[in-house]
Symmetry: C2
């Protein structure tokens, strides 16, 4: 059976909790949705925040809606450029990770934790997971064929939820390492 | 048979021809070796040059000795950051590639071509090639096992020369995508 899934490249971005939105943008501030993302209910915002490391800083887009905890997701190349220490983690699994400073138009905060390089993963609905023959939390390999840099990524975690849309998410390092320039698909190999 | 080769990560760098060294550093200038590289006769220099793109610029180390043609080697993430268009090419294969501006302490030049993201490759001596059962210009896959981001790179070209030392060279995007933090080895898979 053909087991190909859309591959999407996530550029560096931030998720914020409501308290941190207010600390950075002012009391009562609400984020402004700019563009819907492939995962239902998720959107990129108009607002940006500066992520400050020991070497330099980078402006990053905020992805909404607000979450329970703030989190900076970046590629390891980004982390080295600005001088922050990112562990490879699934989104939301930020215990034990490092923090950094965030600067917004109305204030700045220091995150105690939350700086991660996302563990590569595939979003699937329960129906997709059945179709692909995989289970939630299963680790698979995914082969991405491109004209010049065909790559097979191991350590890809399957994430199943009824409100997901089928898509593999990798970061910009991983997208560039695989030479992805246009729409790409990955073949799930168990 | 075990077919593992040392994996080295090449950070962005420049090779210069003698005329371009003089244009950037002054007439009669000779580059100052700072550190020998794994490939015999190759060295990093004390001098740096600014590579200027449409968005920003980056200082890059010069690798010696001087070559017949100047060449900028960077990761695709770097290329996007500074705003230059890098094709994936083997070192030295720069016909048809794009150029960029270089700025040194004594002058600046515009390269007509030479901006590349290096095609991943393995340097081997003829004896190594026999041992690994591969030939010059052969394309192989290489599996790099790491604790969190095991990756198999396809489209890896074998380069055989008697003055090479056995090493796979990948760029910083590829190193980060594979989660390489320390010494890594790759298994050649045909």
């Amino acid at each position: 059976m053909e087991k190909k899934v859309l591959v999407e490249i996530s550029a560096r971005h931030i998720h914020l909790c409501e308290a941190d939105v207010e600390a950075l943008f002012g009391k009562g501030y609400k984020l402004t949705p700019k563009k819907n993302l492939s995962q239902p209910g998720q959107f990129a915002c108009e607002e940006k925040v500066s992520v400050v490391g020991t070497r330099s800083e980078m402006k990053m887009s905020i992805l909404g809606p607000v979450r329970k905890a703030s989190q900076v997701e970046l590629a390891l190349t980004d982390a080295r450029t600005i001088g922050v220490d990112a562990l490879i983690r699934e989104s939301g699994h930020i215990d034990g990770t490092n923090g950094c400073k965030l600067v917004g138009p109305k204030g700045e905060i220091t995150l105690e934790k939350g700086v991660i390089a996302a563990k590569r993963h595939i979003h699937l609905t329960p129906e997709d997971a059945d179709k692909f023959g995989v289970k939630d939390n299963e680790i698979v390999n995914v082969k991405i064929e491109t004209p010049e840099r065909t790559t097979t990524y191991g350590d890809v975690v399957i994430r199943v939820r009824s409100d997901f849309a089928a898509a593999m998410h990798i970061d910009t390092d991983e997208g560039n390492a695989a030479g992805i320039t246009n729409t790409a698909f990955g073949e799930i190999i168990k």
